[in-house]
Symmetry: C2
Subunit: 430 residues, 2 copies
């Protein structure tokens, strides 16, 4: 079967099965999820042996150790995958929730009811656990899913898919409601991206270039997760010890995540008291510093509080640095003249993901949370909390930097739409 | 100034002013809206004389009388426009509404708060009243707007815009929060559609080809309103008198609207009792009928109940008819063997806009509303009610056939996004 035929069949399968899964009850969906979790555990050896094929290819291709790490499946990681599926079993099914309703003067009873989106396509790179995660989240919310993983993980993804497929079947669900693309042909993706007749939403998970390429080509709505250039602004009225703890955590606890801090902004009035100690702590945590001119001046003035040669290691931050998501142990530092300058800097260079102010001043806290137009704005907490789990959603399909449909961490309700159901007794329009 | 420079400035103006309008209070926004309404009434003659220029061009170009009608502004129509703006003053401002919130076990207080989308671009055809409507809806919801009307209405749109602009200024708002593109150069639209750095959402209002072209080109999320191929299914258990009233209303009350019925589905068991009378009534209302083979057979059997030659006027419906939005006094009629066949027909040919069942049977009503995946599903009422006003929204920016973000009639809340505001007291992630 050629790629056009193959993709076409996949799309039709998804659309057809979406009608069935949409009306499946929570009990049936949960039973299928439990079976998936059970079968993932039961088929560990098979999955690991398929994963080895991917790992061998990755080694031959000379992929980086971090990619290989993300690709690797172990006994423990498959258990984690199964645990993740079981977590989703425990979450409330959002389908059917009545969001709003009224009786109109003419007697029409209108309710706005949560329904599945329909067909969700997820395009992702590397990590094969996304296959089980995304399938489980979409299944719980009554959506049919088309999963397209990276070619590096094709054997692992297909192995996980086969387990899911047979679990769905034995639970009595249409097995076509989860499908993994078993081809690595890019033409299949191109067809998928134009298939607005079949697919309701595309969720890409991966680097910015993947997401931009998909957005550029797709005629289907895309929920995007671009970069996270997150800021922490240490206000003039900050509790400096708290600011120190928050900044070190936001930067160094897990620098490769999108909610890690990339730029620290410090009000000029506290620069002398805050910068030397914080730079020492950040460097101790392994962070490389790039500072604005004022930052360098402050540090030079307080040379005696810094380790030898420390100043020489600190580079001057450029305009490009302010706009860079390092995802690494690197931090840009800027001294600002005012809260306004901090807010303007975030508007200009930020990515509207997560930004924090550290302050004890009520008015400044209020202004920052109101005027910084980010998915999450924080007062006196680390930006690292922007996460479905930390927000109490129980599970997360991604973090949206879009403003439409979903913003910030996306849980189960963000995988649904709604419809209006109208009950009348013969009303006609006058 | 060339078109690139011009569009660039427009985009930057919108983005800059969006930060200001986002935090403007309801009082200030309402004052500006009242001033707009007042100034529209005060400047009628100026607007009408600019409208004449468009009408002259339209006449020269030989545009159809329906286009010319939609384009024409009169005293009364400008009053309607101003009344529309005043209606929006009276609606509740959704910005700032707390949608959800919790305290996490670590003490973080999370609230999910409604905020403006940011910059909304509206691309529309013909009717110049959209300029005032859309500007007012976006202003009320704290969004900056870029309005791009059709070239047929450029003078009218600019005249209305000038009134709005000066009203904004005298109300003390940044006048750049509403901008009309004063060029008809298509290059300006092409730049706009790729300006994802500046624009948060595109809302096209117009025919399907306009919307498809925009969706194909845009890298910005588009809220679409495709066609409305709406069905009414007359069930075996229908109250046939009610079915008759509903079908005539759904088809003939205003056939050019997207919520008008295009196909009537009739269960075989009631075809003999329902079809002859309903066809007579529909024809009396001026509706041309296209029927399936069974429809023609039924009518032929009941020839005596129909006017002379009636049967000869009824064409056989083709596959194309089932998929056509006539927007006119034409109706496709199909006899179905079962509720299932009706639901399948709607899934295959419908446009997921508005579909109705007429029935007295509880189970069939429940199945129809659950299984028909449309923005609005009706039991025993006309599909003509799918409308912001009829749904109690007070105002409508369009009817979305998308499932993402907004579905069905879009009121003020659909012009907003949300953000998470998180208050802590030093929390860091462990």
């Amino acid at each position: 079967m050629d790629v056009v035929e193959y993709t076409d069949r996949l799309l039709k399968n998804a659309k057809e099965s979406s009608r069935k899964i949409a009306s499946a009850g929570s009990l049936l969906k949960n039973r299928a999820l439990e079976k998936i979790a059970e079968d993932l555990r039961a088929n560990k050896q098979q999955i690991i042996s398929e994963n080895k094929k991917d790992l061998n290819t990755a080694a031959e291709m000379g992929l980086s150790s971090s990619v290989i790490d993300r690709l690797t499946l172990t006994d423990a990681r498959i258990d984690d995958m199964a645990d993740g599926v079981m977590t989703i079993v425990g979450l409330r099914d959002p389908v059917g929730e009545v969001l709003d309703g009224c009786v109109r003067p003419n007697g029409l009873k209108i309710s706005k009811v949560r329904v599945p989106l329909g067909v969700v396509a997820i395009i992702y790179e590397a990590r094969p656990n996304v296959t089980a995660d995304a399938a489980a989240l979409c299944l719980k919310t009554g959506n049919a899913t088309i999963l397209r993983g990276g070619k590096e993980s094709i054997h692992s993804n297909v192995a996980i898919y086969k387990v899911i497929e047979s679990a769905l079947e034995s639970a009595g669900l249409d097995k076509r409601c989860v499908q993994v693309m078993e081809t690595v042909d890019r033409a299949a993706v191109d067809i998928l991206l134009k298939a607005d007749e079949y697919v309701d939403v595309i969720i890409p998970r991966g680097g910015e270039s993947l997401i931009r390429a998909i957005t550029g080509k797709s005629t289907i709505p895309v929920i995007k997760h671009y970069q996270g250039i997150c800021h922490t602004y240490v206000d003039k009225f900050a509790d400096l010890q708290m600011a120190l703890d928050i900044c070190v955590n936001a930067k160094a606890q897990r620098p490769a995540t999108c909610n890690a801090m990339e730029t620290m902004l410090v009000h000029k009035d506290v620069a002398d008291s805050f910068l030397p100690e914080s730079i020492v702590k950040l460097r101790e945590a392994g962070v490389e510093i790039k500072g604005c001119k004022d930052t360098l001046d402050v540090l030079t003035r307080h040379k005696d509080k810094l380790p030898d040669n420390c100043i020489d290691d600190i580079k001057l931050a450029t305009d490009e640095d302010w706009a860079t998501e390092y995802l690494d142990m690197v931090l840009s530092v800027k001294v600002t003249q005012s809260l306004d300058e901090a807010i303007d800097h975030i508007a200009k260079y930020g990515s509207a993901h997560s930004d924090a102010i550290v302050t004890e001043n009520y008015a400044n806290a209020e202004r920052f949370t109101a005027e910084v137009d980010s998915a999450a704005t924080y007062v006196n907490a680390s930006t690292r909390f922007t996460d479905g789990g930390e927000f109490g959603m129980g599970a997360e399909i991604g973090i949206s930097t879009d403003k439409l449909h979903a913003r910030g961490p996306m849980g189960l309700p963000e995988l649904t739409s709604y419809k209006y159901i109208v009950h009348g007794n013969g009303q006609v329009r006058g």
